[in-house]
């Protein structure tokens, strides 16, 4: 059984490329193959114009990696950890400089064990940056972090990209992919099911707005069949899930009054109504019928 199969993609210099998919989709397997940590059973991988198995040291000198779960030595300080990692590279940043990139200056002398989750993750990224890489691999860099820590990491990644370097990251947060990535590959069950810029992918839904609504429970009346709303003007798709409806629409000011009229004719009462821009989450749900994460379909 292959963890991933038939993945075909290329990442350009200076690009931030995201592998987006639910847990267990094969994102980590894919990124570890690219990092040279896992061997391919078949196919070809080229990193910075070089191939694993032939120029391993040269590739490793030029890439930076942050694994999904690495427990750095808790007893070492931030400076000691970075100096250790720095010693492995021919060229790279001074540890104090790397610490500046991730805004951990004031923690330079602190033990790793005393850092918060977000600070540890920033240190892990600093370890990835210490060799001054041309290409950065980040596996789930913000998983489990609080919103502020996530934003700090996004800023670090953006700065790296702005310097003309390339980033490949995996995530199951669609907002992260939308904000950071120039292009995204949506991965599910070890296959790429869609690829393009977040804007293109959202546009492929046919409507860039979404109307979410729910109906009052009207004494055991039949749920509304989604097809009964398909003929509304400017509506491109209708999705129903546990009594809640999501309509992808092109023009909100046309679709919304039409929807309200239709519900009034059908004598149905609204319980809840929101409108929003379509997201990569909608792309994923449309393609697979499932959510990226169980907990929050919106956010």
């Amino acid at each position: 059984m292959d963890a991933v199969n038939g993945l075909d993609m290329s990442v350009g210099t200076g690009e931030c490329f995201g592998l987006l998919g639910p847990n267990g989709a094969g994102k980590t397997t894919t990124i570890e193959i690219l990092e040279g940590l896992l061997a391919l059973t078949s196919g070809e991988v080229e990193v910075l114009g070089m191939k694993w198995g032939r120029s391993d040291d040269e590739i490793k000198q030029q890439i930076g990696i942050s694994l999904q779960e690495t427990k750095l030595s808790e007893k070492l300080t931030v400076l000691e950890t970075l100096t250790l990692f720095r010693s492995f590279y021919r060229e790279g940043l001074a540890p104090a400089d790397a610490v500046g990139r991730v805004s951990l200056e004031e923690k330079l002398g602190a033990r790793v064990g005393k850092l918060s989750g977000g600070q540890k993750q920033r240190l892990a990224v600093a370890c990835a940056l210490i060799g001054d890489p041309r290409l950065l691999f980040l596996d789930e860099p913000t998983t489990g972090l609080d919103p502020q820590s996530r934003r700090q990491l996004w800023e670090i990644i953006r700065q790296f990209k702005d310097a003309g370097r390339t980033v490949l990251l995996t995530t199951h947060y669609m907002d992260e992919a939308e904000r950071l990535c120039d292009r995204v590959a949506v991965v599910d069950h070890g296959k790429i099911i869609a690829m393009g810029s977040p804007r293109e992918l959202i546009a492929s839904l046919g409507g860039e707005h979404v109307i979410d609504f729910g109906l009052m429970n009207s004494n055991g009346r039949e749920p509304l069949p989604p097809s009964s709303l398909m003929d509304l003007p400017a509506v491109r798709s209708v999705r129903e899930e546990a009594g809640f409806y999501s309509l992808a629409v092109t023009e909100l000011h046309i679709a919304l009054p039409a929807l309200l009229d239709r519900l009034r004719q059908m004598n149905r009462d609204l319980a809840d109504l929101t409108t929003r821009h379509a997201s990569l989450e909608d792309v994923f749900v449309t393609l697979t019928g499932r959510h990226l994460r169980e907990e929050s379909p919106g956010s």
């Binding site: 990696i65 030595s73 070492l76 000691e80 100096t83 033990r111």
Partner: protein, 357 residues
């Protein structure tokens, strides 16, 4: 906000030096580990101190079986002063001999004049000694004349005592234990924490990683060995007869060899439980066979080639030859060679089959 121009290089750090430093820091910042590694040899030394404290020469334990001339034997032995004599009936005497409460039973056999038989265990050294001493005392009391009167002079130079035998064995044991536990645990722990995998993703050279583990092992060893040796020299007056340089060389060689064994044992293990089991499996035969607490020559001849092929036997024997017998290191070439072969083979194999993730 954009990236500042990256300074392309910073002072070059030695990877092997950094890996060694990291290990040393991790260890010395863990107070519990420090206590167990350095507290243990001290504890052991104290226990030995209690066991080998100066004490008067033991009396020879002799039982006299109740009989017609039992009192004659008792009086003769009491006069010699080195015996501890007690009188019991036959069955009690036998039980006491069997349970090591006494070393000799004297049975009076004479009808009209005193004559005795000796009941003793010829495989027990104390028993044989008791028989000789008691016989001499009884014969003299019965009127035997010595051919000449010898003078007893005591020899107190250290070297032949049990503690002199024990110290090189304990050194070998702690070098083995330190190498296996020290290298094995740390390696598996780093594997569990995925730190090995993280290192593998850097251009770190694998030989540097192993070199760092080795070097840090040597650094930990210095105080470990020093505590034991200094204690033995000061408290027990153990003397190192051979050259200190040769002794140091053997200790370092042994540490290298057992680091290699530790690395090999830990090269595939994925859990602490697995590596602990493997380490005990490797160490147990050497604890028993390699002459730590008693000479390995006590095992039968057929087992000797196997016992001599164990690295701890080679280390213990070489340490004893140099430290106690004052032999030159050049007489130990075969043992040194064996340890070197073990070191090379275990490191080579470990490097080949090592599981980094």
């Amino acid at each position: 906000m954009s990236h500042p121009a990256a300074p392309k290089s910073s002072p070059r750090y030695s990877p092997i030096g950094q890996l060694t430093l990291a290990r040393l820091r991790e260890f010395f910042r863990e107070p519990e580990a420090v206590f167990w590694v350095y507290g243990f040899p001290i504890l052991m030394a104290i226990l030995l101190g209690i066991a080998f404290r100066e004490r008067p020469v033991d009396k020879i334990r002799v039982d006299v079986q109740e009989g017609p001339f039992a009192s004659v034997a008792g009086a003769a032995l009491a006069q010699a002063k080195k015996f501890e004599v007690q009188v019991f009936d036959e069955s009690t005497c036998r039980t006491r001999l069997r349970t090591n409460k006494t070393d000799l039973v004297i049975v009076s056999t004479g009808e009209s004049k005193p004559s005795f038989d000796y009941l003793y265990d010829p495989t027990r050294a104390e028993s044989v000694l008791a028989r000789r001493e008691a016989d001499e005392a009884l014969q003299r009391a019965a009127g035997r004349q010595d051919a000449f009167a010898p003078q007893d002079r005591e020899f107190k130079e250290p070297g032949g005592r049990y503690i002199d035998f024990l110290v090189p064995g304990l050194l070998g044991m702690s070098i083995m234990g330190g190498g296996l536990w020290g290298v094995g645990f740390v390696t598996v722990d780093m594997r569990i924490r995925k730190l090995l995998k993280r290192f593998l993703a850097t251009p770190m050279k694998k030989t540097h990683f192993l070199g760092g583990i080795m070097l840090s092992r040597m650094c930990f060893l210095i105080p470990e060995v020093a505590i034991l040796v200094v204690f033995a020299v000061i408290v027990f007056g153990v003397r190192i007869y051979g050259s200190l340089l040769s002794t140091t060389f053997l200790i370092l060689l042994g540490a290298t060899t057992f680091s290699g064994v530790g690395l090999l044992v830990a090269s595939r293990a994925k859990t602490i439980e697995a590596v602990s089991g493997l380490m005990n499996l490797v160490m147990l035969p050497m604890w028993l066979l390699s002459g730590i607490f008693f000479s390995s020559s006590r095992y039968p001849d057929v087992a000797q080639p196997f016992i001599r092929a164990l690295p701890l036997t080679a280390l213990n024997d070489a340490l004893r030859a140099v430290m106690t017998d004052g032999a030159s290191i050049f007489t130990q070439v075969d043992r040194v060679l064996l340890l070197t072969v073990y070191a090379v083979v275990t490191f080579g194999t470990a490097l080949k089959i090592f599981r980094w993730q």
